[in-house]
Subunit: 449 residues, 3 copies
């Protein structure tokens, strides 16, 4: 199965997928009214600009997806082409698929309305398989990634619809629907694709070189800097400003904590680049679900401190344990960067939801906890107690993360089984974490660096 | 002529150019009214903010010019100082020259009005010689680049004026006036500076190292991410939103296609970093001229698929053929990234223009195809048929690209002749693609990496 | 003192600092009204969006702080982990501290109001110790940097308050309060920590490798591109547009000049990457204080030419002299990038202030030179001559830089003395400029690269 023919057929399937997308775009997608010309005699209502005001944040998220994720994964010494290249390829594929999948769930008159909003949503969806890819980095073929992405994004769209529109949970920065989903889906796939027990040792290519570590810092810093945009892009008004402030403070606190804990638990008290590259970002994940709530600066900082601590300890103790005992090689440690911090975020959301009152959230209650707003009030539209109460909302938050975990892990196991037991080519141990099996690599370099 | 004295005189000329710019700024440039203080008793009309609303897009374009182009060209193993350094230097020189040259074509009362708009235009103009530089990368002196830039930008400004204001073609993202012009101008210069037939073999420095390829991906990803800003910055309202959406989808489709075609045509079906670095961006060029038209999502995706295919095939078959047969070393393959995709864009613009109707474009017809709007209508200002008709507009689009090619190639041949046959120092074969002839290079590194 | 125990105690102190921040946030910081939910019956005044309109510029500044400074300092061949990592760590620490320190100076009702404005200010404050760090790069422990940062930011906040609110100087881009302060504070610390006279030779690790130089260009280009955001973020309306235009033109002119002067004064007339990485940015510093004034394009270009020239000459002649004679190793040459250009900016501000008239600045005089506006005018609020006159304002500008230098140098000497003579661990000569004393470094790499 290592023959060129196997590769060729995979790429031909990919082309067919792209052409199916083309046909689906043609059949189902139309510009939204804001992106269409005004009638000659219409007065300019200026409504076109509403979407476009989110454009700078969209661009920040684009940088996170393409540069942030791409370069964060360049830390492997011989996998930089794949890290940046496959990120580009998967994101380009997934954004198209996400426009379609999420569009199908919100069609009007049988058509999907295309506006800037759709591609913001698509960019967020692209984060999901990229997170999962982190758990598998260097141990799959690009065609396996393609197949996983297509399946995962469909499931993600369904789960997100369930969580936000059926259970009405709050999840402003997507820690539950994006980070927890992507991380545990990826870990479940990695578990299915785990090596035989006699091949479980960690290869020397499963680490960084001095140069590749600095490339990875490009990813880290851009993710750090633009994370407030990711968390706040779907919030409005004052909630948007709080999302920015809370995310910023949580990241800052997680970063300081990461340095402390990394030095305290590492060999000879030296700092570990893996922690600095990843755990500094855990503050952004852990504050995600609650970033638009009234945490206060101290709430955001506290969440950041907890997230940084848990993340570094995860890298130091849990990941090696999972590798040794479950044969689960979480290459980028997505469990520590996305998985556990997302659980922290879900728990925090239950705590804060349990304390939410209409007196505190006023007119924003409707946006943030719509199910808590009563529908049969006559005097005021917003009225705590007629809808879901705070304790019940807290329960739904926990239910939301539980269902997300269930769907993610179930879907991941299923996907992993398909990738392993059907006709896909699986990489052999000695092909792991190396660009050269799928890329033309400059010959002389192999020895030199 | 390799004496320090020759270098010194070149740099002295450069300083004189900078001082001439200073004098021209002093004589001709004044702040526009929006950048001047309001009179004490004036009411704030808020008009200053109109320009400034484009500021985030301007910054995106800045990143494309300085980081995008600069790092895209770092792929050569020993030319990274020059790639990033000369990009910085040329862009800094050209933006000043472009403010002046484009300003002279739109003077009011003998003065150039300076506002954010001018420096957006200047940044776009800076792309032109940077594209040309890609065709020559590693085979010119910085002083030759300086001379080429000054001449090219003047010619670019004239051709753009002709195309947009005389022929009234649509070219929202500048594929005709910027990309085609820059690419064919650069190729013509490269043809003039082609090596003697006994020196035509490709040197080993004309390729990448593992590290330099990853540096180049920084350029690629930033260009990818911010390309929608480049294409949409000069569009307004709904047209601006369409420009963003179409560019995004075209890039995504071109990227997926690039991976497929690269794998199918490459040696052992391995992916080629040159294709991934460049052809993924061809979708942005190919959709440029038509990005604000009513393509629909499928139109944008189709253009992306075509562009990705053509670009990869160009790299795989056409570039080696041109190198072997015309001795035209297009170092970065600008013909495949900018040249042919721009031709596709021009052809697409003729096709879409030929189908444009006032019923479809409504109030935007005036912005997009101003020559199609009649001037002697009495009831409504916009009235198809009184002005140029759709077929005629399509013809003008083709005429626009033809004239652009003529001026670019003619100007490039002339410039190349000047660089070759007058007193400029030309690099010898063994000086090509190496930083060390113009830069202090750390000594120990020469062996190591 | 090189025992792990010493390290551990340092990191424990850092954790305590983070927890003190948490407590201070809890006690003193509350969201500003714009970041709180509107009352149910309130009408949306849209005021929340006012802050948020600065968000794209805030993000640009974030990139400058975290990517710009971080990567600019990666130029040392074996100090890339520290450059990017310690930048992340220090900035994350300082932004929290700056929110508190600057907040304490502007409390209302015993509370600090938290809004986007505060974190913009905090990001600007983060630049200050990062500039100082440049003067010390590779010669301090992270704990020394922590201690310096905490002390320096407090002093910075006090000096800035003095300069802007007591002396009422103009300093739109912060060249006096940020760049001069940070540079001379850092130089004073470096002077205190200078090596013994028998250990003054420059080590081979105090230079770049081919790869590290290209990493540093990432920092340079992002700083270049986003500098207009740094200078303009605190200006409004037309003044903001001028700040963008002037900064852009000054940077462009400084860049061209840097290439010329670098080639003219360097060995064999080759370009020097140190100049290209740093002096190209001197135009942004030198125009900082005056960037919102009516310089005209020629004024901005002239300032850029002077700054580029002075900066390159500083690197070429002054820095080696200071190293040899004062044993002051200014690793990044902050004196040439921040120090001297900031002095140029201060002098320029005195010149332009001395020519400022109410007829010229109209309604903006109040914003730019508030002390020049009379308070007992009855007919018009703005009236030159009743307040401070132009000559007097010019004098205050010079007084402002003089006081800033005094406080910065005094504070730096004091801080340096504390770092040197108290219980802090000082690095030995052979520990300088190397990551491996504080970071886990991939073993095999040490030889290879």
């Amino acid at each position: 199965m290592h023959s060129p023919a196997a590769k060729v057929s995979g790429y031909v399937v990919l082309m067919i997928v792209q052409i199916i997308f083309l046909v689906l775009f043609w059949l189902f997608v139309r510009y939204e009214k804001t992106a269409l010309p005004l009638a000659i005699d219409a007065e300019d209502a200026g409504s076109a600009n509403e979407h476009v005001s989110k454009y700078p944040q969209f661009q920040d998220i684009q940088v996170m997806i393409f540069i942030g994720f791409g370069f964060l994964m360049t830390f492997l010494r011989k996998y930089g082409y794949s890290a940046t290249g496959f990120t580009l390829f998967m994101a380009a594929l997934v954004v198209q698929w996400a426009v379609l999948m999420k569009g199908f769930l919100h069609m009007e008159g049988g058509k999907i309305s295309l506006s800037l909003e759709n591609i913001i949503d698509a960019d967020i969806a692209a984060a999901v398989p990229l997170i999962s890819m982190g758990a598998l980095l260097g141990r799959t073929t690009p065609i396996q990634l393609l197949c996983m992405s297509v399946f995962e994004v469909a499931l993600f769209a369904a789960n997100e619809y369930l969580a936000l529109h059926v259970f009405s949970i709050c999840d402003c920065g997507g820690s539950i629907t994006v980070h927890a989903f992507g991380a545990y889906f990826g870990l479940a796939v990695a578990l299915m694709l785990r090596p035989a027990s006699d091949q479980n040792e960690t290869g020397k290519l499963e680490g960084a070189s001095y140069t590749s570590d600095i490339f990875a810092m490009i990813g880290t810093t851009f993710l750090w800097v633009y994370w407030p945009s990711f968390n706040s892009v779907l919030a409005d008004g004052a909630g948007g400003e709080r999302a920015i402030l809370n995310t910023f403070l949580s990241l800052a606190a997680a970063t300081v904590t990461t340095f402390v804990v990394s030095a305290l638990v590492s060999h000879e008290n030296k700092l570990d680049m893996v922690h600095v590259q990843n755990s500094t970002l855990a503050g952004g994940v852990a504050v995600g679900t609650v970033c638009n709530l009234l945490l206060g600066a101290h709430g955001a900082v506290l969440i950041g401190i907890i997230a940084g601590t848990v993340s570094v300890l995860g890298y130091r103790y849990l990941t090696p344990w999972m590798t040794a005992n479950l044969r689960l090689h979480d290459t980028c440690g997505v469990h520590n960067l996305h998985g556990m911090p997302a659980l922290i975020s879900a728990i925090a959301s239950a705590i804060y939801a349990s304390m939410a009152t209409v007196g505190e959230y006023q007119s924003e209650l409707q946006d943030i906890f719509p199910a808590m707003v009563g529908t049969n009030g006559t005097e005021t539209k917003i009225m705590g107690g007629l809808g879901r109460n705070a304790t019940s909302q807290a329960g739904y938050q926990l239910f939301g993360i539980a269902v997300t975990l269930l769907i993610a892990i179930g879907g991941g196991i299923l996907t992993g089984a398909v990738l392993k037991y059907t006709n896909f080519r699986n990489l052999k141990k000695d092909e792991h974490h190396q660009d050269e099996h799928y890329w033309e690599v400059p010959a002389a370099e192999n020895k030199e660096e």
